[in-house]
Amino acid sequence: MLVARSVSKRFGPTVALDRFDLSIAAGEVVALMGANGAGKSTIVKILSGVYPGDSGSLELHGKPYAPASPQEAKALGVATMHQSIADSVVPALSVADNLLLDRFNHAATPWFVGPAARLEEARSIAAQVGLDVDLRAPLYTLSLATRQLVTLARALADKPAVLILDEPTASLSSAEAERLFTALDTLRKRGVAMLLVSHRLNDLKRMADRVVIVRDGRLVANLKPPLDFDGAIETMIGRALPKTRERRTVASTANQGLLVRGLKLFPGTDSPPIDFDAARGEIVAFAGPVGGGKSRLARTLFGIEPVVAGTMTLDGKPWHPRSAAEAIRSGVFLVGEDRWNTSLFPDSVPFASIEGTLSFPFLSRWFKAGWINRSRERRQAESAIKRFSIRCNGPEDRVVNLSGGNQQKVVLARSHAEPARVLLLDEPFQGVDAGARADIADALRASAAGRVTLVFVSAIEEAFEVADRVLRFDRSIIETSIEDLAGA
């Protein structure tokens, strides 16, 4: 059905995709696995017409396929359901209007369509995925999972031959995911070829006829079920998985490290309380789905989210920070997810250079009198650049002009500019290429002695890449073995 032959793609000096081959038959579901920056999204974007490959060829139905735009790809029969549904729906419009959005932009659509006719057409689109809701309701009244079905229905409106699903279950519970799979089963029977980008063991077990693994832009494995999941993850990250350690006893960490007992993050829910210890020198990863409260746990430990119930103890003393400033003063640092949102300053800010960004949280510590000593600031930045191998021309470089991986290194270097007792890292590998990811993981391991390091990630292989111990987290810690972990 869809065949890609020896497709390559470069971005400047970075090779994103290196002679990649892929074929999907009608009615086949191929799962695509790969770490952040391995080339997954490049494949998806080339297939869905966002940009063309540099070399190689694509075929659809045995004919050359070279879409110039996502619209053209869709018209040729390749529909894509993107990960962030926020970009593809209009919350204030009704479900019916959202389903018909593409039609509205179609030249063939008459300039006026009556409400009854619109509803009728929307109903036929909704029926394809078994979407059973009031089509006149505004979209924002629906649950996330239902909205996901709306996007799916919309992608299917033009009866595509190939469907690309980019992490469709990332924000769904397992019951919600099952609804999506039921809808996908019907499509499979109808002969739609599907490319499913996902790491969830459940998704793979339930849906995949074949699993393709990509690493550093190259196809490294083409597996048929039954799947050896540990092996797949090892292939994906290119090294052996660490063994999960036994949970430590309370006594060994009572006075050195972080102790959390009976912590509740959400008021009035019956999710079990959170208990865990993390010793100094240890890197503990919390792996779990987006929306499962990982970020909230990080923010609670950092003191900017209220503690509903329970106690936190740091180095033998109660830990009750009331503000970010207090946490930072006490040596508890948070690196928030989505760096441009939580850590970096836009270029309109005069000091949005490497040195200015690095010094910002420590201004009151380093420059007590108020006046900023630029040469001291520069020295700090120079040592951080060396330590994290940030690729730049110097400490005065503007952060916007750095690559994503180097921007992330600046953010991480900032949390190492002063000694930390606890370092909280929320999705530290977001939007980072493979090389920079390895640098970051190395730097974190090298500096971990003497502090508690907690990493919060949704991609399980990232947890394994950096952590000594991995805890599965979804609203609270779930006791598991590694196989269950892999399904997180």
Partner: protein
């Protein structure tokens, strides 16, 4: 291969840097160059333009707008926008006159009343914005109307001078003491007008704080990305309130200078101040290619407008052209800032 690629990239950056450097130079000094050219043209047509007297009278005329623009640029830097500076200044000059003429206060009492009013207006704005979460422009627009109306109430809408009849029928008996009037009219060493000195001092302090201290950094950080600033431990709400208080105080200082210059409480004093100050602060974006609110740029912007108006008046341009000229200048500066800025950052 990696090494080769990296040298390639560096050399590419190098040539690009050289190519843009002339443009960058132009960008940085564009407004100042224009100012020099304007000055040369005016001097050529009217030699009196370049006299020390005339230059200082330009500065004196521009000093009130420049002061207000400093306040506006501080609030712009913190991510807000103080639209109430004009009516704060107007109310302050009324308050000063009231203290002097009705309460028979001395110059210090009058200035203290002005500053207290400025602090009050700033706190009011700041709390509306941070506590009640009213968007900046709307909150300060509300304050603009409140203060513009408030200044009319004590005098029943009349201008205030010795002998004014108040709404309760009494006639005012106090007068403006010489010490107060000196603020607006005296010249240091018979050359430099006092308002210009006040402007210079305020500008120096503001530039130092905003550009060279950690407090200034937190102001800009709050304006750039409040979440990131807060997560890095900055008390952003307090900084936003402080920015509005600073703006209010500076505006009320401007009000005191107006009262001292005019010698009465004038109901129409603040009419065009706000728009002129905002224009100056926005023209300031283009100075030194800053592309951001900045104190010194705002002052240069105000002086620029002052030079242009003074020169054109000397050349007998009709007064009704003034607003049109200011508008053309503002649009030009904004287009310059944003279009060239976009190209340079790719």
């Amino acid at each position: 291969m990696k090494l080769g690629a990296s040298t390639e990239a560096t050399s590419a950056v190098g040539t690009e840097f050289r190519r843009t450097s002339i443009r960058t130079q132009l960008e940085r000094s564009g407004i100042l160059l224009l100012l020099v050219i304007l000055g040369a043209v005016f001097t050529w047509r009217e030699p009196a333009f370049l006299s020390v007297d005339n230059l200082f009278s330009i500065l004196q005329a521009a000093s009130i707008v420049a002061l207000l623009a400093v306040g506006v640029s501080i609030t712009l830097a913190v991510g807000g926008f103080d639209l109430s500076v004009g009516s704060t200044a107007a109310t302050a000059q009324m308050a000063a006159s009231y203290v002097l003429v009705v309460w028979h206060g001395n110059a210090f009492a009058a200035i203290a009343a002005c500053l207290a009013l400025g602090v009050g207006a700033g706190l009011f704005n700041g709390l509306l914005i941070t506590r009640l979460r009213v968007p900046d422009q709307l909150a300060t627009l509300g304050t603009l109307f409140l203060l513009a109306g408030l200044q009319l109430i004590p005098t029943g809408g009349r201008s205030l001078a010795t002998g004014t009849i108040l709404p309760d029928g009494t006639q005012t008996t106090g007068s403006f003491p010489a010490a107060f009037l000196a603020l607006g009219r005296a010249r240091w060493l018979d050359v430099v007008p006092v308002p210009v000195i006040v402007l210079a001092v305020v500008t120096l302090i503001a530039v130092f704080v905003m550009e060279f201290t950690r407090w200034g950094r937190v102001v800009y950080a709050t304006g750039g990305n409040e979440t990131a600033a807060r997560l890095a431990g900055a008390p952003t709400a307090r900084y936003r309130v402080a920015a509005y208080v600073a703006s209010g105080v500076i505006a009320s200082l401007g009000g005191a200078l107006i009262a001292a210059r005019v010698g009465r409480g004038d109901v129409g004093a603040g009419n065009s101040l706000l728009l002129d100050a905002v224009a100056a602060a926005l023209i300031g974006y283009a100075v030194w290619g800053a592309k951001r609110p900045n104190v010194l740029g705002s002052v240069v912007g105000a002086v620029f407008v002052g030079v242009l108006l003074n020169g054109l008046t000397m050349l007998n341009a009709p007064y009704y052209m003034q607003d049109f000229i200011k508008g053309a200048l503002l649009v030009g500066a904004l287009a310059f800032t944003f279009s060239i800025g976009r190209q340079a950052t790719r």
